[in-house]
Subunit: 328 residues, 2 copies
């Protein structure tokens, strides 16, 4: 058995916990510890054996870490942390602000080149595996259309929006792909689809005592941007039902490429995910790309990278010869 790849986790919320869990499923990976801005003594890790350190302690442990997996948020943490840490460590992040990926890439690339590290940004599933499938579909079937559908999935932002409505004690929101739209795409119709035709929204709401359900429903379904452009269903449930049935963080979706290889020959490529836990799955992808980052760094392939730059074989603990024999 070769030397394990030593991984540090930066930030310990749902994603960080998922990375701790994912590392435990991979024999070739070793968790060095969790690095947090909080008081290390206040952080309860999944395993009692996981050591927790102050983020500032990263300076002293430099030599023991092959890759840092950054588990902070895309709004406030990663735009600063990824370039800063890429100067000293190979990193993987899940930066998911699609519109700002190019500038994030440039900032991380400059840092990683200066620091002679490898930094794979925007891994996960979207951006991530979905992006990979958008690329494959377009490259293989250049004459065609690509459709991305999300869900069924819990949306944190929309759940927060519900909870700000007066009269709402608690609630969650699920985004659902429209089944008939998916069927039209799968059938190769290449439809033009509005936001309303692509996804629907389903809310489960616990009312405050005395709140009028019809007033709350109207406030939700007419909320601009969040709900107005969609067909939205609101279910009123008890706090007990919310606790029993809506604590998970499911998500998923589909990337479908429908194209013609010649006039009469239609070809459809479909990639789909059905996830019980969005953060644990995202963490599983991050960890596979951490393995790739360690290998690319060892091969002196430095700078910022995306999934598009990573040869798939680098994601597997198995040798290239094993992969050819068993999986090709």
């Amino acid at each position: 058995m070769s030397t394990p790849i030593r991984i540090g986790i930066v930030g310990y919320g749902n994603l960080g916990r998922g990375v701790e869990q994912a590392i435990s499923l991979n024999d070739d990976l070793q968790l060095v510890g969790v690095f947090t801005r909080r008081d290390p003594g206040s952080v309860q890790t999944l395993s009692p054996n996981t050591s927790v350190h102050a983020l500032a302690d990263l300076d002293g442990t430099h030599a023991d870490i092959d890759v840092l997996v950054l588990c902070g948020g895309s709004r406030d943490d990663l735009p600063r942390q990824s370039p800063e840490l890429a100067q000293r460590f190979s990193i993987v992040d899940s930066y998911d602000n699609h519109a700002h990926i190019p500038e994030h890439f440039e900032a991380v690339d400059a840092a990683a080149r200066a620091g002679a590290t490898t930094a794979i940004i925007s891994t996960g599933w979207d951006p991530g595996l979905f992006s990979l499938n958008r690329l494959l579909g377009e490259a293989i079937l250049p004459h065609g259309h690509t459709y991305t559908f999300w869900g069924k999935g819990l949306s944190q932002g929309h759940s927060d929006a519900i909870r700000r409505v007066p009269g709402v004690a608690a609630g969650v929101q699920y985004t659902l792909p429209a089944a008939d739209a998916i069927e039209r795409v799968r059938a190769g119709e290449n439809p033009e689809l509005s936001a309303r035709e692509r996804h629907t929204r389903e809310c489960f709401v616990v009312l405050e005592p005395g709140a009028d359900p019809e007033v709350v429903r109207t406030q939700i379904v007419t909320m601009p941007d969040y709900f107005e452009p969609y067909d939205t269903t609101v279910h009123f449930i008890t706090a007990e039902e919310l606790a029993a049935n809506h604590q998970g963080m499911p998500h998923g979706g589909f990337v479908i490429r429908s194209g013609n290889s010649s006039t009469d020959q239609q070809q459809v490529i479909e990639f789909g995910l059905k996830l019980d836990s969005n953060p644990e799955f995202t963490a599983s992808v991050l960890v596979a790309y951490a393995r790739a980052a360690a290998r690319m760094a060892a091969a002196v392939d430095h700078g910022a990278k995306t999934l598009f730059d990573v040869a798939p074989g680098l994601l597997s603990p198995r040798s290239a010869a094993q992969l050819r024999a068993d999986l090709l």
Copy 2:
């Protein structure tokens, strides 16, 4: 616009025709010509502008070709052609004899290293895109099961077997994935599935005058290896129906990885293809990998490769910066 990548086609059956067609859909690719063992004058190409040469003429045109796409068969052509031509040209092939891929790789690798060329073997969809998804599923969800289902698809080998049965004038065979097995896998049951539970076989047969349908049916469904291990349905149709409804070469299937990221959290990754034309789709994949082969050769990344070694971005005509901005 940069210089186009110049491609030669070796062998001109259904796959070679598909490659000719696929190249015409890609502005950055240019077809140099078709190279055949047949009399060049006897080969009718899709486009009247496609030049046809004797295979032996490849020697003289060496400098004009960036990549050869080999469109011969895996049994008789590729084991000899791929190593031979990789000594002088970068190549892409669709070698699909899974059990012999390791030795094919070694033979082609030695030739490509000696010739300083890049040779991507076993591209297409299985081996090919399905292999890629088997690798991704296993690397991301190490605790889980991978299932591959094929169909609905025309099977050439099984169609040939039907046509050898006495009393059969003509016929085709389709392999179908068992819908209930797929549903069990999608639901995360991780079932153990026998060959009979995984796929069914459906035959459309035109009888010779006077042949007894029950005798023919029995001979087909009891045929060892080909049909006995499966639930096989035989439909008797007229020659006109066969001509009208069974001339296409559809295929497809699914790769499903079902795994747990932690005890209670199940995650399912599914990749599926629904193809009107198996050879045209395979050709479309070959052509995208031909683009990658040309780029890897230009980057002095020589030797035999598989899809596992090819960074996905190399498959697209777009720049890395464009891909990050538009598809990530």
